[in-house]
């Protein structure tokens, strides 16, 4: 207790310096909280958007499909399968998809496209497909009165083929039975922009795709959503457990399904750490200076403390303790500032002056993350690095020869 009182009074001794030091620690802490919050928040947004938009949180497919997607690896697309799947506790939504390539023809031109067959109703409740329609409307699951199935096309497809709403589109490909697949479709919707991830995609109703690729009652994979992308590993484990008696099927999380995207995200997040290192570095310089100063000033006193029997390690910890006390208090005060600021960031956020693109996902509005880690991690970082900084002056004090130190007194 006396040691703590000693540390505390030493801190209060030079109030101006203490306030300045605390301000630099406090500022560093708040800055770290906010930047971590914005970074986590924006990646959360990007990953959340990306997974919902394209991969889902997990996918079920035939074993080997994720490594090498072929037309022939299929999963059942039955209602019974859907019912069982959606009754699993973690599953919040699911939809089957067929995905393959085709050559598309407009009036005069041809263009290689990606064909995605989706269950019109299930897909609407799972991905942003319906929201992405720029022109026209969402397609019907059944053929129109002329007997043609309706399709929606990406912006690049429409531009390359010079087709518009109401035009006809011909697709040519190969069916799963080896037959030649070709059919005529009617364009009812235009999707996204030429920058979108699915700019080169033609969306077909599932039934149309099943007919076209000759895979009745089947799909290539099921897209499954949990409540949140963070549950994707858990979800995948649950799906695999459920699939245990169907060894031909397997579940994979979005990290596997879109490994490239996942890796870019990881790299981006790591790149963001440089900013933290800079903040920490600045805080440390300020702190090193004050701690060194306060140790130098009190060299004589440390000499006395040592002369009357304080062990070197005790002196060492006295200084570390003082610094930790200062850092702890700074973070505490910083928390008072960071709580409302981050609450605003997480709930309201701010619009970016210019939209930013991260891995193909365009973001116009930044939001923070409201999470315990956002407050705790920066505190640990500040306290930890400050303690590390104090080691050098503390060692200096511990090694003092009492007489040399007391001479200055």
């Amino acid at each position: 207790m006396l040691m703590l009182r000693l540390a505390f009074r030493n801190i209060l001794r030079n109030k101006r310096r203490t306030v300045l030091t605390m301000l630099s620690m406090l500022g560093g802490y708040v800055l770290l909280v906010l930047s971590l919050s914005v970074q986590n928040g924006s990646y959360e947004q990007v990953i959340d958007f990306f997974t919902k938009d394209s991969t889902g949180h997990a996918q079920i497919s035939e074993v080997g499909y994720q490594q090498r997607a072929t037309l022939y690896k299929a999963v059942p697309a039955s209602d019974a399968f859907y019912q069982q799947l959606t009754s699993l506790p973690l599953v919040s939504a699911a939809a089957p998809r067929i995905k393959s390539g085709a050559l598309a023809y407009g009036e005069t031109k041809s263009f290689p496209v990606q064909v995605v067959g989706v269950d019109a109703q299930k897909e609407a409740g799972l991905s942003f497909l319906a929201e992405k329609i720029k022109q026209g409307r969402y397609f019907n699951a059944q053929p129109n009165s002329d007997g043609y199935f309706e399709v929606m096309v990406g912006a690049a497809v429409a531009r390359q083929l010079q087709v518009a709403l109401g035009d006809e589109l011909v697709l040519i490909s190969q069916g799963a039975d080896g037959s030649l697949a070709n059919d005529l479709f009617s364009i009812v919707g235009l999707i996204g922009s030429t920058e979108s991830l699915d700019a080169r995609t033609v969306y077909l109703p599932l039934l149309a795709a099943q007919n076209f690729f000759a895979m009745p009652g089947e799909a290539h994979y099921w897209v499954v959503l949990a409540g949140n992308y963070r549950q994707s590993d858990e979800l995948t484990a649950q799906l695999n457990q459920w699939l245990a008696d169907r060894p031909e099927l397997e579940a994979a999380s979005w990290k596997v399904v879109s490994e490239e995207f996942y890796k870019t995200m990881q790299a981006d997040i790591e790149g963001g750490y440089i900013f933290y290192y800079i903040i920490i570095f600045l805080v440390c310089i300020g702190v090193l200076n004050t701690v060194l100063m306060s140790v130098l000033e009190r060299t004589g006193e440390f000499g006395v403390l040592k002369a009357i029997g304080t062990s070197p390690s005790r002196l060492f910890f006295l200084i570390i303790q003082e610094t930790l006390l200062l850092a702890g208090l700074s973070c505490l005060f910083g928390l008072l500032a960071a709580l409302p600021l981050n609450y605003w960031l997480a709930s309201t956020g701010f619009a970016l002056p210019e939209p930013m693109e991260i891995s193909g996902v365009v973001m116009a509005h930044m939001k923070g993350q409201w999470d315990l880690a956002v407050f705790v991690e920066p505190a640990l970082i500040v306290i930890g690095s400050v303690a590390l900084i104090a080691v050098f002056p503390a060692l200096k004090a511990a090694r003092i020869v009492p007489v040399d130190a007391m001479r200055g007194l």
Binding site: V304, A307, I308, G309, P402
Partner: protein, 231 residues
């Protein structure tokens, strides 16, 4: 009896070449338990240097200091600080109190290091401060005390942990003669009643009279010694 402190061919030099100062040179001394020894000599003769080396507060350039027959040079930093904590009380020429701690806390500090329970610490500190005439001033910070009062806190601090030996560098130099004599009486009392060993330096002939042993030093060398029966 085994000496508490022994010096062998002890030397401490400052500077080098032409400016070399032999602050202490070839000093052989043995301090035995229960002594009440004064180190006397003119200013600059090496009294402070000797006391500092005896307590391991400084490193000698020559020779060795043995504390209870163990060479300081062979002790770890921890061992040495523990030895000081448990066996040696220091009174410095300057008072050297910790400015942020009150008179009582300055005294309490060593006992805290020794792991003495709070209640006992408090009782001993208050009794000791009363003994040095500072009753009622226990909570004052050093800068709220006069020089003489600070010196008395320093004395109380050195003695309250009941060390075997007290090394005091001119403990009465900054006190008026009456206070100085009172302090000396108190030291003498502790020496006789509890067998506490005292080694102190002084210029004051009146104080020298009270010592049971006088060690004369000049220019860093011991030039003579007198022993006296208790008077």
């Amino acid at each position: 009896m085994k000496p508490v402190i022994e010096t062998r061919q002890l030397g401490r030099f400052y500077g080098e070449g032409d400016t070399l100062v032999r602050a202490l040179h070839q000093v052989d001394l043995q301090i035995e338990p229960g002594e009440f020894t004064a180190i006397v000599g003119p200013s600059g003769s090496g009294k402070s240097t000797l006391l500092q080396l005896m307590g391991g507060l400084d490193n000698p350039d020559e020779g060795t200091v043995l504390l209870k027959e163990k060479a300081i040079s062979e002790m770890s930093g921890r061992e040495l600080s523990d030895f000081r904590r448990d066996h040696i009380g220091f009174i410095f020429q300057a008072y050297n109190l910790i400015p942020v701690l009150s008179a009582a806390e300055n005294c309490e500090y060593i006992m805290l290091l020794q792991g003495i329970p709070a209640a006992e610490r408090k009782a001993r500190v208050y009794a000791m401060l009363e003994q040095v005439g500072l009753k009622g001033k226990e909570q004052r910070l050093p800068n709220q005390l006069s020089g003489g009062q600070q010196q008395r806190v320093a004395v109380a601090r050195a003695m309250v942990s009941r060390p075997d030996i007290i090394l005091a560098d001119e403990p009465t130099a900054n006190l008026d003669s009456q206070t100085g004599m009172d302090l000396l009486d108190m030291m003498h009392e502790l020496n006789r009643q509890q067998g506490m060993t005292f080694v102190f330096s002084t210029h004051d002939p009146k104080i020298m009279e009270r010592a049971s042993r006088l060690i004369h030093i000049e220019d860093g060398r011991v030039i003579g010694e007198q022993r006296r029966d208790e008077g």
